[in-house]
Symmetry: C2
Subunit: 240 residues, 2 copies
């Protein structure tokens, strides 16, 4: 069923929404209409893309503030953990990319209502987080050292974790990672796998997940979601 | 206010609860009464302690299955990601320690109802997760290499992240990390800081967080919570 997905558009965010427009909405929906959201990150997808896509799928208006790498040193000490992305909600900062992804996901109907399925969604988010962690230090390496480190990851967590996620996907019926419609776990998986398959990371062959039919179908399905495709075309491909 | 905290005991889990006992409970509360929970981990606190404490504070019955290190190789391939802890809910496995902590936390009234405060709780959980990550590889090191690596962490993430958490705690009024009562973020912080301050980790001085009054008060407050103190006394101190 696509109950949650078809429902996403209800959050159409109209700035200066009148009281009339707010009638018939739940308290949470009214809040989404009146809160302001500013997502601050570099002009890349990286750790902000899944949250941007959640806003887009939920049709929730937000300021997509992209900073130049040169402005980062001055901004860094003003952020909660010396890191971005940061999401400002009515001016109050929320850090940690997956905390903000889950928060926006709840507003965008991209987080399972059932507590156990919500936990399975969290499980996938943490697993994807772990899968990417050992890749980060390799971006500071060069030449043979980088090659060796990345090849070891192909033989380890980078592939094994996604294989485990494929198994979980199949156990949930093969359609979505948690629950019975698209969730933030699917968005996160889409962003991660699409990046790894891009051919843009030296020594990471774009074929590394070709043996995982469920994951590939999922990435295709998320990528052809109208709101996702539109966002990427208008805001990521051109900007990057 | 301690609304959520004082409410925790309502989940008294009675095995074989009769239909009569279930009257007046929400669907979620009835589920907690009839579901079975088995937490599988080594006979240490580690990544399972916060979840065990959440069960204890919520007065939710669970099987606390502790395996010997020698049994792990045989068990490993049967777990979702080749890792424990795993929480079996009616026999269905849930992996990733913070996914299970959040799940149990929601049942135990240890997770903020307000979505933004829930996100601040998630933010702290992710920050604590990050703070511990660079410590893990040092357990495979020895002698001078280990000393150097750990001293570098004292000058970096291990202290800076907890300093950032202290700041967030103060911004939230100084009592709790998120919302206005104890949450799973406080339990996680308690477990982490208590371990780092234990003096049991070579080259990590137990004084490393002495300059953070809010964190120390929080750890003391969580540690003297009746359910937490009782659980640690009866199930952790003696077993370990």
């Amino acid at each position: 069923s696509n109950e949650r997905t078809s429902d996403n558009a209800r959050h159409t965010n109209v700035s200066g929404g009148s009281a009339k427009q707010l009638i018939g909405m739940s308290e949470q929906e009214q809040k989404v209409q009146t809160q302001t959201f500013k997502l601050i990150y570099f002009n890349i997808g990286g750790r902000a893309l899944a949250t941007r896509l959640a806003f887009a799928v939920g049709n929730i208006k937000f300021t997509d503030e992209r900073i130049e790498f040169g402005s980062w040193p001055a901004l860094k000490p003003t952020t909660p953990f010396g890191c971005i992305p940061v999401l400002e909600v009515d001016g109050v900062p929320l850090a940690q990319s997956n905390a903000m992804l889950r928060y926006v996901g709840r507003m965008a109907n991209l987080y399972p209502e059932d507590p156990f399925q919500a936990a399975k969604c969290d499980e996938a988010l943490y697993a994807l987080y772990d899968a990417g962690a050992p890749l980060s230090p390799t971006f500071r390496m060069k030449g043979e050292e980088q090659k060796k480190a990345r090849e070891a990851l192909l033989d380890g967590p980078l592939v094994k974790t996604i294989e485990a996620i494929e198994k979980g996907l199949q156990a949930n019926g093969g359609e979505w990672l948690a629950g019975d419609s698209m969730s933030v776990a699917d968005l996160s998986c889409f962003c991660f796998v699409r990046w790894l398959q891009s051919g843009k990371i030296d020594h990471i062959p774009p074929t590394l997940y070709d043996h995982l039919p469920g994951i590939n179908a999922l990435v295709k399905k998320v990528g052809t979601n109208a709101a996702v495709a539109k966002w990427i075309d208008e805001h990521e491909t051109k900007k990057k």
